[in-house]
Symmetry: D4
Subunit: 238 residues, 8 copies
């Protein structure tokens, strides 16, 4: 039991996690899932993030990631732990990106405003070693932009489709390709778009069979889903 | 003031409507809008519908329609007012369909289950004199089915797009054609489709500019919107 | 495939679009739909908007529009591409407005607070060449204000009805006129108005047959719907 | 404390209520509010209703009402307590209706399908002694039907406005008259009407000042609100 | 038709309203409903409000109100039209309050945080000439606070009950008194309170018969409902 | 791994559970939580319930419960496992009810229609050995019915408050007593009651501190919460 | 263009699809995605299904599936096309199941009532050639049931997790394994479960990184997602 | 009746409460429920809070609490009433904390971002005399962190489980322990987390029997529920 008075004084090592008092760092996750615990920045103080990253850098051997980090937080944590890099558009801080793996993912986005979410998906995928092909602004209002690219994009092993508003791009792509398709609804839009809920519901209701969906704006979640698929492919090769 | 005790004993003619007691038939609507008041069957008793239709047949000169009529209701009303016809798939009873007008509408539907709504749109459009081209089962999961037809369909003057689930067909069509597009969300689907609400929200959030939307499953509303557009075209020719 | 590292370095021309790296400008849209792709400003950086506008000005021959632009963005983009103008109330930047077409639209708004949305509808309609008649503050709480104007307004070829709160104006207008009516719910109001969702649902549930509806606060969408109808009328005259 | 085993064996009189075991009949309500407790039939067994009615008939001196009663229930309860009457359209059973009071209410309904709710409002109002004027089918799609009646209707002391779909009738009436207006949304409609929720929200968001609203389909609630207003008027005369 | 270019240049008098260009002031409302049109400040520019108030002050003879006005707006409008007063807690600007009428209303509020809404109800009621009794902080968590006051409060002719969170106060008051009760849900609370929607739904679902409800936080709406009831009582005395 | 072909052929005992193929009976739950796993009947076939009950009767020593059982299911399962009993109002089948424990709970319900949920709470509480006091029909529309009983009811150790519609009873009771109060919203009501969601949200938003809430209509959940509290009291006595 | 009058008279072959009049069978889907178009039975008439299946059996060479088929429909279609089989629990009709592929999926379900959805997932997966391991009733209320199985289950290449109510099983499994996890929310539960919407939202909000989600009750969708992953693994082996 | 003009001039003592004009302080609550009325800071002015706290400090003898206080408010109130203390993370001001009681509660939180809510639960529990054990960051994505602590935590008499996102921790804990479990959903998360509504619904739908739930982010409510349980245990010891 950690004390309620001291906010993080302790540093206890136990089976599979380190107790920093304010956080229990899951030190077994890299062994269990191939990537160390990723740190979601919102709601955490920079000092807390710094301490968690320090623990992860020493307990793990591969990539360490902080997601949704604003520039100030990134600066502070990178100052304490040099050697990492910050992707401002993706809001991602990364240390020790993984070596390239024989699996790449096509990241398609419907509009320019979906860019930050697509950037997060691409940056996280690269950090965990996946190849990435980016196809921006291929929304269905100008269908030829998509049709022009979809043949080339099928050289990748999986698709991440990022779209807001009505999210129709996911259905169209899902109908054209045989690959795993992870759809990411975004909060782009207004009014009836309901902050991304409409795109989310639409993607879940897609007429294209076998689409899967992650949370609104979760480029991170889509990349981690691709990581899981990549791991399955790697195991399949053994 | 009609009496609360007697349910329809009266039959009073006033400026622009006839008071049947249980209903005030808007006898001026044909002059005002080109089509007499249409009778929405649910919640009305067959005897009430019969009386209203009788009034409309005498007060108007053009088509008279009863929508969402089940077969029993249709039989009873048609027995009282012969000369009409019933379209079971569209659930529509029609008397005195209008003469063909120089305006036709393409009705596209995404899946076979959207058929009854598309049928209502087509039947109402024909009843008010519009030409109709029907393109069924052109949903985006097999995009080539749509692309095969969309060129031909552009010979029509307007589009009605009927789709449930995620409703993506409306966006794709809206991006391909320059015509007025009236989107009809349907309650086809399950779970996250939320009885048609998802398709409705998605169509309203479409990335294709200038789409308009009517109520869920309202083939009738879409056809009447087409009627309004046709009237504008006709006035434009004068 | 564009590179994920370079944010917009490329400038590739392909069939029907130009790939700026961060955006694929749909250069075929003017030919396809009569108006070039319109740029929705939120979520895009001024430099991105500037580049897209530049591409559109060279690839298209008619009007180029940026919607929902704040004054700073407008200034920056207009400085790069002189000759346009900014309508602050409508938040619209326009270059090369279209020549007047033989089609005009009546824009009715329910209350003073609905003004910006009505202004966007009017400004976009004018930019694409439509005539516009504006009837402000004709909400149903003082019905005589509407009845005073509706006769005159019927000289136009179509109606755009802008209303927040309960959106009743759309139903009343829809019952009075035979024209195409495009209803725009606004986020005016509070509490049970649910940021415009109530007006949206009410307009979709209207008892007036043949109303169509666009997204909340989308004066742009309504004007583009009018543009589609105008094009149908123009084709009908040929 | 009543026993959980015996479902209604007891019959205990206490200050202001009688404990029937399965129900505590509020015998003080007539003195407190002018009308005895009204029995809402759904979820109660006919035998339970019969016992409660018996208690009310002996403890109160004025009208006794059972609302939302289906014909079978009404028959069974009326057989046990003769002298009452059943209004099938209003689904109301009444014993000892009150003597006419010097207050009457205009009940307006938008469409024929709103009839049962309007009938409940009218029947309950009459049972508690109010005069009632019924104006049916005056929805805003044919505004002249309303304008024809609204002058006459203002001879009443209050308005009850019953409307489904988008509920616009309430706003229009609220803007025309100076009377108290109680709006009753109904579940008439489909799709975006959301089982009456849209009309409810629209009436609450009305641009007409001073409208009040009761629950969906609650003709009973509106009549009881009128009863409260009538009592205020009666006290005002003293 | 007002011009879209000039924002308010015109000043046209027509039957029952004055057209300021940006607004149509309903000059007939005082005669129709006993109180001139009230100005809802949000979404209007101070100069617009000033012009409308000027028109109302000249066209009407009784009270003129601006609701939801922030201090800056109030200062600017009062500077242009001296003689009014501003109630900061109620956010109300008033000119020429009505003479006291023989009708008073009890305003009960559940918690201290509901104070601004109760203050708006009280201030508007006073401005239109009603007497007001204020009973603050009588929420049901300490029921004796309510029971201590409810006897005294029944000397008023109507009740306005203001409550957020679960809104239970309305049901309890509705069960205790025979008066008209207008319930005002407030946005006080958090989480499951859903910005006042929970209190709204709860008040509409109340087990106390004959409660009526207005929009969330609408102290104004409740006071205007009381004004309508007061008018009915006054007519009843004649 | 159980086979997908055979639906329940297996009967494997493992640490803490028995694998029946179609179900894994948690045989350790009685030791872990004081009551064996309870069987929720909907969605299970009678034969499945019979098999599970058989396993529980042999693996556990205390009470075995089947909840939400319709009469046909109850008959079939009781025929296979005699010695149990069925409470039709509570829809509960019970074998081997626990011996009375020194802890009792007051079950208060707001209206007669809330009876079945209150009956389930009472029956489950008794089955697990708790004393039960039932106070029916004490809703706040007649507050004196509650005030008459609440003193006596405080002799119990905890309260379960069952209410639909607006659920105000929970707040009032929570303000009067110092006991643990478990609130059960019910689906009693219509329209704005939203099938119990309104009562649920209202109870969660209660102004009375320390109320807790269970799922809609879950008399079972409330009784099990009381069981957990009783166990804490029993451990406190040791 | 197919005729609106004749419902299915035509049989036209075009590039990539066959037009049956009432349906356009996507004959290219097997080549494009590895499995022929699957027929969703609800909303289609048995004769329509029979015709579509006939077309698919001749145009494709691999498995043909009809999902959500009730027994009567299954009988009728199987009578017309012998050689298929019906799985009543999964509501699936299958012809020509695929040969076993070197990829298997673990299907875990939380409770017995989730059985039909898990059965559909398993049956569809088998029909398209995947191996399946079924782990039933491993919900988190008895965590040891899951922990007992999860090691063994990791021998499979992907996980499908089927759970209703709060859907917590998906998060727990997602935290334990490195595999692709496709979560299927079910409509099991009541009240706050909101017909599966709660489980859906919870799975999308999971704290376990890289989970993906399909529509409520869509065992079919999950199996098709597994098929897409299996295909990626197969391509990875080449 | 307090005056609407003077905002708090009065100071009247009545049976069980003190009327400060702007608030009625429930001076009987400490006797009734063991803890004086707690002051919820949002929506109250610092001067109002200061006055209420002054009244409570003189009328009660035990702890006095102000919840959700920002630092500025805390400073101002503490300056007026020295001797209290402020817990910035819990946003709680406390005077005269209660003496330790023989009851302690385990507070478990799922993630670091849930810290403030857990801190409020812990701080309020301590203020009212309960022992507290804090177990942070034990979310189910790393289940071993929870399993490591849950044995030790069972030495407490009750559990408070604080979790956002999908809230699965509550179900897992509820299945492992026999204690009363009060679940607190938090607004941690984004998108489909719906500001805590998803966690709320999930906890209410939990498959673990006997969980109870409080409002989103209400650490205060959970601690007060624990206080009620502690009081029941204390009474049980007598």
């Amino acid at each position: 039991m950690t004390s309620v008075n001291g906010d993080g004084g302790g540093h206890a090592e136990r089976a599979g996690f380190t107790d920093l008092g304010f956080a229990r760092v899951d030190t077994g996750r890299e062994a269990r899932q191939g990537v160390a615990e990723c740190v979601y920045a919102p709601g955490k103080r920079p000092a807390e993030i710094t301490a968690i990253v320090g623990e992860l850098l020493s307990a793990a051997t591969g990539p360490v990631l902080v997601t949704r980090a604003d520039p100030e937080t990134a600066d502070e944590v990178l100052a304490a732990h040099p050697g990492g890099s910050y992707d401002a558009r993706a809001r991602l801080v990364t240390w020790r990106p993984a070596r390239p793996r024989a699996f790449s993912v096509a990241v398609l986005s419907a509009g320019t405003a979906d860019g930050p979410v697509a950037a997060e998906a691409a940056a996280v995928a690269r950090a965990v070693g996946l190849g990435v092909g980016v196809y921006r602004d291929v929304g269905v209002a100008g269908l030829h932009r998509l049709l022009d690219s979809v043949g080339e994009a099928q050289a990748h092993q999986a698709f991440i489709v990022v779209a807001g508003m009505e999210g129709a791009l996911a259905s169209v792509v899902g109908g054209l390709v045989a690959h795993p398709v992870v759809a990411v609804p975004t909060s782009t839009g207004y009014g009836a778009g309901l902050e991304g809920v409409t795109a989310l519901l639409a993607m879940l209701s897609s007429c294209a069979a076998g689409l899967t969906v992650v949370n609104i704006d979760s480029g991170f979640g889509a990349a981690m889903a691709a990581h899981r698929i990549a791991a399955a492919v790697e195991r399949g090769r053994e």
